[in-house]
């Protein structure tokens, strides 16, 4: 439910280890709302979201331990540089990321040389890459990614796909919304299309 | 046990509560009118003239019950909020919202009559007495709640945010009252003793009680009517509302 509108009902799906879920639907069909609900940011009006057979709002902290959510906002502080952003982000998640590791990470995502720049001076794609760099060091079981491929160039898209594949191969799960056709054939794929009624 | 619980939740759905509220409201209107009428009779014809304060003291027959109600309603609203937050029942939030304007009204009446009492007794319209000041703050708390709920468009958020505010307010009221009282005794500017009349006449006490009960019934009646409006407003898309109202209002 968003505002007074009922966006979806009778939605029922399971996601298992190593599985990947595509979420598709046109604008306003409730993709983001569903993702936010699954992450536990929004509370559903009816029904339940279970993690290991337990409703997620009852095991919030341990569920969030297993969860990595990236919304379409990058969650970067424009006044801080990429390294500070990444280190603080890890700290908020309760993990320690030392300076050297952060540098390494920045090299991995191809942003070496921009490390002293406050992120507000980076381009959209670069910001997105910093935000997605969290996935490199993240070992959560469930990734929920809202439009992760937007604003990325072709090479970055490939790299991100590889990362997601790796995650699935490790036995992780991922729920992703996207407009683009993405090749993630490894891992089992299930696809939910929202807003099919009016399509 | 299981059955009883389910039963309760059944009544907590707007569609079932709407007609219940409709039936309860007239009953409480009658009780309210009867009690307030009797209370007025008592306060003007039975209660004797006070030897110190003359006829002016009759104001307390509305002042005190109104103050009681203003505090009581706030507590009830907080109670509904707590229930709503725990059990996630929409009706509880609606009840809290239905009571708020009436609570604010009683707080206002309490202040108004207090100052109309204060003028002849102490020679001033307003005294920074601990109770009056606390009552004023209570009025602010009511207004804050109503403003917050009114400012949020998303109903769910408005419900929950208002409830949190009410609970925070309830925890704070004793602290506020205590500090204001302390502040007042330290300053002792005007030598005012609110609870000066130590030997309260029994008829006076009864009259105040009856008036308070009348106000209580009035509050319930008003809340029932208002909660019905709130339900219609919020659920105007729901089938039960559409079916019930039909095409002619």
């Amino acid at each position: 439910m968003r505002g007074d509108r009922r966006l979806f009902e009778h939605l029922d799906f399971d996601l298992e280890s190593g599985q990947f879920m595509y979420l598709r639907g046109h604008n306003g069909s409730g993709k983001t709302t569903l993702l936010r609900t699954l992450a536990g940011l929004l509370r559903q009006e009816e029904g339940e979201i279970l993690w290991d057979d337990t409703p997620i709002h009852r095991i919030r902290d341990s569920y969030h331990e297993e969860l990595m959510y990236l919304g379409h906002l990058n969650a970067l502080k424009g006044d801080l540089n990429a390294i500070e952003n990444l280190r603080i982000d890890s700290a908020v998640r309760g993990q320690h990321l030392d300076e050297a590791a952060a540098w390494q990470l920045l090299t991995d995502i191809g942003l070496r040389g921009h490390e002293d720049l406050p992120t507000k001076y980076l381009s959209q794609g670069q910001k997105r890459r910093v935000a997605l760099a969290r996935l490199w060091i993240n070992r959560s079981a469930l990734w929920i990614l809202d439009e992760p491929f937007s604003a990325l160039d072709a090479t970055s898209v490939d790299v991100l796909q590889a990362i997601i594949r790796q995650h699935l191969a490790r036995g992780g799960m991922a729920i992703v919304t996207t407009h683009q056709e993405v090749d993630l054939t490894s891992g089992e794929v299930c696809c939910v299309v929202l807003g099919a009624r009016d399509a | 046990m299981q059955n009883r619980l389910i039963n309760w939740f059944k009544y907590s759905s707007p569609a079932t509560f709407y007609p219940v509220a409709g039936r309860l409201a007239p009953i409480f209107w009658v009780i309210a009118i009867a009690l307030i009428g009797y209370g007025l009779y008592l306060s003007f014809f039975v209660a004797p003239t006070d030897y110190k304060q003359g006829e002016g003291y009759r104001i307390i027959f509305i002042h005190v019950p109104a103050s009681w109600m203003s505090m009581f309603i706030y507590l009830v609203m907080a109670g509904w909020s707590a229930i709503g937050l725990v059990f996630n029942t929409r009706l509880s939030f609606m009840m809290a919202q239905a009571l708020a304007p009436t609570g604010a009204m009683f707080a206002f009446i309490s202040l108004w009559t207090g100052s109309f009492w204060g003028k002849p007794m102490w020679g001033t319209w307003w005294v920074w007495d601990a109770r009056i000041t606390s009552e004023l703050i209570l009025l602010f708390l009511y207004l804050g709640y109503m403003a917050l709920v009114g400012a949020i468009d998303d109903r769910r958020r408005a419900d929950r945010a208002g409830s949190i505010l009410l609970l925070v307010g309830v925890v704070n009221i004793p602290i506020i009252y205590f500090s204001v009282k302390w502040w007042n005794t330290l300053h002792q500017g005007a030598t005012v003793k609110m609870n000066g009349q130590t030997s309260m006449d029994e008829t006076m006490l009864w009259t105040m009680l009856i008036m308070a009960l009348g106000f209580w019934a009035y509050s319930i009646a008003v809340a029932m009517v208002r909660v019905r409006s709130i339900m219609l407003e919020r659920e105007h898309d729901a089938q039960w509302v559409r079916d019930m109202i039909g095409e002619q209002a």
Partner: protein
Amino acid sequence: MLETLLWIIRRDVTIALRRRTDIFTTLIFFVIVVSLFPLGIGPELDTLRLIAPGVVWVGALLASMLALEQLFLADHRDGTLEQMLLAPQPLSLLVIGKVIAHWLITGLPLVIMAPLLGLQYDLSLEALKVMIWSLLLGTPTLSLLGAIGAALTLGLRSGGVLVALLVLPLYIPVLIFGAGAVEATTSGLGGSSHLSMLGAILLLALLGTPFATSAALRVSAE
């Protein structure tokens, strides 16, 4: 846990230091409000000495309230708040970190500035000392209580005014004991009992408000 707390504080303070205007607007507001009163009331030192505690405290109250709106707004806009809500850490802990940082940025400068303003009002050295203590104990409570209001009104159109309406009634005890401490000192009664009350209120607020703020944040971020 402690590390997380420190990182949050460090983040907010660093950001504030990189854009200093936020700190200064609050401070300048405080100075201006307090300096306006003599202009409205008249320059008699006896009167000024009498009203000084109240004026400084009301000024501090308004200034710290003014800064509240920003407390969670930036985090809400850039998505960091979402990450904080989803962090596998108690949200109240993160909230405490935010509030401490907020106090360091907006509250502490007021405490440092207050004695200078007290001089404008011809307060004695003793009274100035007590004033600093009362502000030091009182302003963190203001930030803690204010955080609830900021969280409740997060992202609302009329947020700024609404915060005032919600938060000012809750500030009353702090105002009473804060101004009372200074007043009691100037009248020779000694302000230590007021100060211990302020300390007690601060402890209560520290224990209670983070939970309310967290709950409010979860509601507002939906």
